[in-house]
């Protein structure tokens, strides 16, 4: 087994005494697609915020490619190679799709090298090349999600954190997004998803982590996790 690309060790995050993340540890294998699932408020987005340095952990350590990244600035972490697509698409509204993606290619891990080809490649991969000249403000919700992903992969990060890329998409759009994520993994990028759409999660993931009330309650391949009584209880309520 290869060395983990991301390892999270005994991570805690308290918001005014409320434990949003409590003693969470896991590792992510390079080249995999991992999904993080859990009820609303389970701490999924907080976990992403911690990994990207957007908020600082109360305790614990995060390592990326063997290097400690806890406490680094968000832009430093992006430069090291962690890319993130937001849950609510946050395009640069006044810029064109091309210019949006280009910002990712100019910065991030890609740095200012091969900007044009990186931008083109990312738009191609996310299936939005035909929208290049459109202002981001004119895109549909589904297209914005693709833009969000394109901009993130244009940074040439080795790890993509995608926060609910399929939320609010219809079945056709969801299938298209899943296809994009698969292609991204195929290009050598490790993918971690937060997702609610269970059929997609089951279909696309190599592994599933289940969070409930800030704690990791299950970790394993999709078919095993789906049968885990604790997971069923967290989603449906326990029988007693």
């Amino acid at each position: 087994m290869s060395a983990p690309i991301l390892s999270v060790d005994r991570l805690f995050k308290n918001f005014r005494g409320l434990a949003a993340i409590a003693e969470v540890s896991f590792t992510i294998v390079p080249g995999s697609i991992t999904s993080i699932i859990g009820p609303n408020g389970a701490g999924k987005s907080t976990l992403f915020n911690l990994v990207t340095g957007y908020v600082a952990p109360s305790a614990g350590e995060i390592k990326f490619q063997g290097r400690r990244i806890t406490g680094l600035a968000t832009n430093r972490i992006a430069e090291l190679g962690i890319a993130r697509a937001f849950q609510i698409a946050r395009p640069f509204r006044d810029l064109s799709v091309f210019d949006n993606v280009r910002i990712g290619a100019l910065f991030g891990k890609a740095g200012p090298r091969d900007v044009a080809s990186t931008t083109a490649h990312a738009m191609e991969l996310a299936a939005i090349a035909h929208l290049a000249d459109q202002p981001a403000s004119t895109l549909t919700v589904g297209q914005l999600r693709h833009l969000e992903v394109a901009r993130a992969i244009a940074t040439r990060g080795d790890l993509l954190l995608a926060d609910e890329p399929c939320a609010g998409l219809n079945p056709t759009e969801t299938a298209a997004m899943i296809d994009v994520l698969r292609q991204i993994r195929g290009s050598g990028v490790t993918v971690v998803l937060v997702e609610h759409d269970m059929p997609s999660v089951m279909e696309v993931s190599d592994r599933i982590l289940v969070l409930d009330a800030g704690r990791l309650i299950a970790d394993g391949p999709p078919d095993v996790v789906a049968k885990n009584p604790q997971v069923i209880a967290a989603y449906l309520g326990s029988p007693d």
Binding site: T52, Y54, A73, T74, N75, A78, E79, A83, R84, F86, R90, F92, R93, D94, L95, D99, R102, I103, G104, L106, F107, G108, K109, P112, R151, A152, T155
Partner: protein, 324 residues
């Protein structure tokens, strides 16, 4: 509207060369108006490096005009042995340096503020600088400060300063243009659009904001030094002006916020409107500026270039629609 590198340079230089003939053909009144237009355009572009590109709209850039002018005046008066060109060079350098130090010192705390809070904090900086200049005897702000003459013999001061503002404004424009085309400029635009997302993509937002702030302050201060010379004698009130603070925002809004040429279009039009069209109505121009600002915010938030863009987009749509 996408021009190649070479054609943009040629266009800028051609317009500048054309403008350079101004003092030779225009009556004296219009030479003075032209002076003010060029000075305002230079300031507007310097302001826009921070306010337009990065979206941090300062309401207190007169602070740098004042600091630059007073620093230069105080130093030049103590270096009277120098020749005129050297004296001016010394003044511009010292004025720029002082603005660099001041802006770098306040950058960290003040750039943590966003939107209106940043604007108001800058207004505070402008007023604090004015009060210090006015009340600390060393700065001679209340008595006033004389500038040594730097106009070459045989040249009208009005003509000389017209050309000086033209050269200064052109330099500021070239710097802003290069920033706009660079990776740094793209980073500033992303900060304006969404600072948190920019950081998430790896844009070093804090460093970029500070750099843009210092560049903007230094260029503003250098123009302030020329302004001090063109007046010949300044007091606190003649450089730390709130109408300047207001105008710098209006120039960009009028011409097109965040664009390269918008601030110039805005400065030229507003100065022309207030000095020529409303020239006879003393002090009416502050009222006119305020009124214009309200109309702009309500009717044309994109300014002149915004309107132009909308029109061309509409035309574009009409011509391409059947093809789809």
């Amino acid at each position: 509207m996408k021009l190649s590198f070479a054609s943009t340079v040629v266009l800028m230089l051609a317009v500048a060369a054309l403008l350079a003939f101004g003092p030779l053909v225009l009556p004296p009144f219009y030479v003075r108006v032209g002076q003010l237009m060029l000075y305002s355009a230079g300031l507007a572009v310097a302001w826009a490096i921070l306010g337009g590109f990065a979206g941090y709209a300062s309401f207190g850039h007169a602070a740098f005009i004042g600091v630059g002018a007073f620093a230069a005046g105080l130093v030049e008066n103590r270096a009277s042995g120098l020749s005129a060109p050297l004296l001016l060079l010394l003044g511009v350098t010292v004025g720029g340096l002082c603005c660099a130090v001041l802006s770098a010192a306040i950058a960290y705390p003040i750039l943590r503020l966003r939107g209106t809070f940043f604007a108001i904090a800058m207004l505070g900086v402008s007023h604090v600088c004015a009060e210090i200049t006015n009340n600390v005897d060393f700065f001679e702000g209340s008595l006033g400060l004389n500038f040594p003459s730097v106009t070459p013999s045989g040249l009208e001061p009005a003509t000389f300063f017209y050309w000086l503002y033209l050269v200064g404004g052109l330099a500021v424009l070239l710097i802003a243009w290069q920033i706009r085309r660079s990776r740094f400029g793209a980073g500033l635009l992303s900060i304006r659009e969404d600072e948190d997302t920019a950081r998430m993509l790896g844009v070093p937002t804090e460093r970029y904001k500070r750099l843009a702030f210092v560049i903007s302050a230094v260029l503003t201060g250098m123009l302030g030094v020329i302004y001090g010379h063109s007046l010949g004698y300044i007091t606190t009130d003649s450089v730390y002006r709130d109408d300047t603070n207001l105008s710098l925002i209006v120039y960009s809004m009028l011409g097109g916020m965040g664009t390269l040429f918008g601030p110039i279009i805005g400065a030229f039009s507003l100065v022309f409107i207030t000095q020529v069209l409303l020239g006879r109505l003393l002090d009416f121009h502050l009222f006119a500026t305020g009124l214009l600002l309200v109309i702009l915010v309500l009717a044309a938030p994109g300014g002149v270039l915004g309107i132009a863009r909308t029109v061309s987009l509409r035309r574009h749509k009409v011509t391409t629609a059947p093809a789809e």
